[in-house]
Subunit: 253 residues, 2 copies
Amino acid sequence: MQILLTNDDGYRAPGLAALIEIMKPYGQVTVVAPEDMQSGMSSALTTKIPVRLRKITSGKGLEIYACSGTPVDCVKLAMSCILPEKPDLLVSGINHGINASSAVIYSGTLGAAMEGTLYGVPSIGFSLADDAQDADFNSCKIYGTKIIDRTLQHPFAPHVFLNVNFPALPAEKIKGVRLARQHKGSWIKEFEKRTDPHGFDYYWLTGQFVNHEPGALDADENLCRNGYISIVPHQLDMTEYSELQRLQKEWQF
Amino acid sequence: MQILLTNDDGYRAPGLAALIEIMKPYGQVTVVAPEDMQSGMSSALTTKIPVRLRKITSGKGLEIYACSGTPVDCVKLAMSCILPEKPDLLVSGINHGINASSAVIYSGTLGAAMEGTLYGVPSIGFSLADDAQDADFNSCKIYGTKIIDRTLQHPFAPHVFLNVNFPALPAEKIKGVRLARQHKGSWIKEFEKRTDPHGFDYYWLTGQFVNHEPGALDADENLCRNGYISIVPHQLDMTEYSELQRLQKEWQF
């Protein structure tokens, strides 16, 4: 099996090393990951400047490349210029930090998974609800393998990518694995104003998450925060069909 | 009415000037737009460096700010630090170039509209199917006003944002306005390899659009390419519910 891996934390991230451990037993692994941290890059493309590519290692069953661009650039470059043919599976991550609820919009990890789906490759994003560089990925390794096995036994639909979030818990404390829907939530108080030593203002991105449905037991954010591994099947067609029908009737031009 | 405008082509773009002309008659307009071109930035956030804000003009009914960040940064900064309260309407654009089909994933124009929706503000993205700096926005002005009027008379659902694409035609040649679904399409041959004067390889993003449903008459890409203005109601919940139900049955953990 030909496997493409990427992430948004950069090719040196411990989460990617954990993902390589999970995926190596399944086949030939090619990693194309950003040179540096590209967190919050969504599906951004590098258009104003060219992209550079650097081979890091090449060994038995594993090749690693670093790319100067975004996670989506990494996938596009792998598909266009590195892999001899379409891979059988793409896995992105393991992200250092949760990517549940509306984070699917901002996440570079999931931008890369979306991109794989657009290329017709079954694609999965893995994220651990722990931002730390020294986060413990052991339970991701155990359960990640179970999820990959399930994917190979019972493939998901080709127009779908999976968003998997692992709670920051040892394997024996994880309550289970739940197929879930995308949680409703958003952020407020997002920029903090400061003044630099020269007297000019600048703004740091920050933000507080607002949980729009704190009681929901079938949505990813709450499930992951409560000790479950959540798996959301996402689609690329964002059309709201019921609203489309309603507006077609109401908005006569 | 309090109106927030932004775009991804930068605060000096002619498409934004056309949008200001459309929107000024409706109320107090605040523009927070990128300093420079931020095309293809999707919903990317600026996290590694702080963001700067510069007031460009302040006059009767119109304030313009330039922000060093992405289109989504512009919206977040407007909501957090500029506007005294939530605006009544957000319009992003008018983009220099079509944003139909899967372009909704990559577009900074639409990233900004998504962001408005997350803040509970009715949000619309306008794009013209002409990349040129000297594109003619006259038909956008005529039909853009009709679409804003319709929005105010018959509001769309609060969980939805609208993606409007105008064909590059004079108003009298436009065949009509159609509510539509997101077209299925993707890109191939996306990076072009070159060698720099020092002998090192570099890669430019390029790409060919592949239309996955060339015969579709109800989807935005074909409609816009065939002389219609397309309006797609998009939602932020990307869950694929039928696949969720199927996997819940099939993937027992």
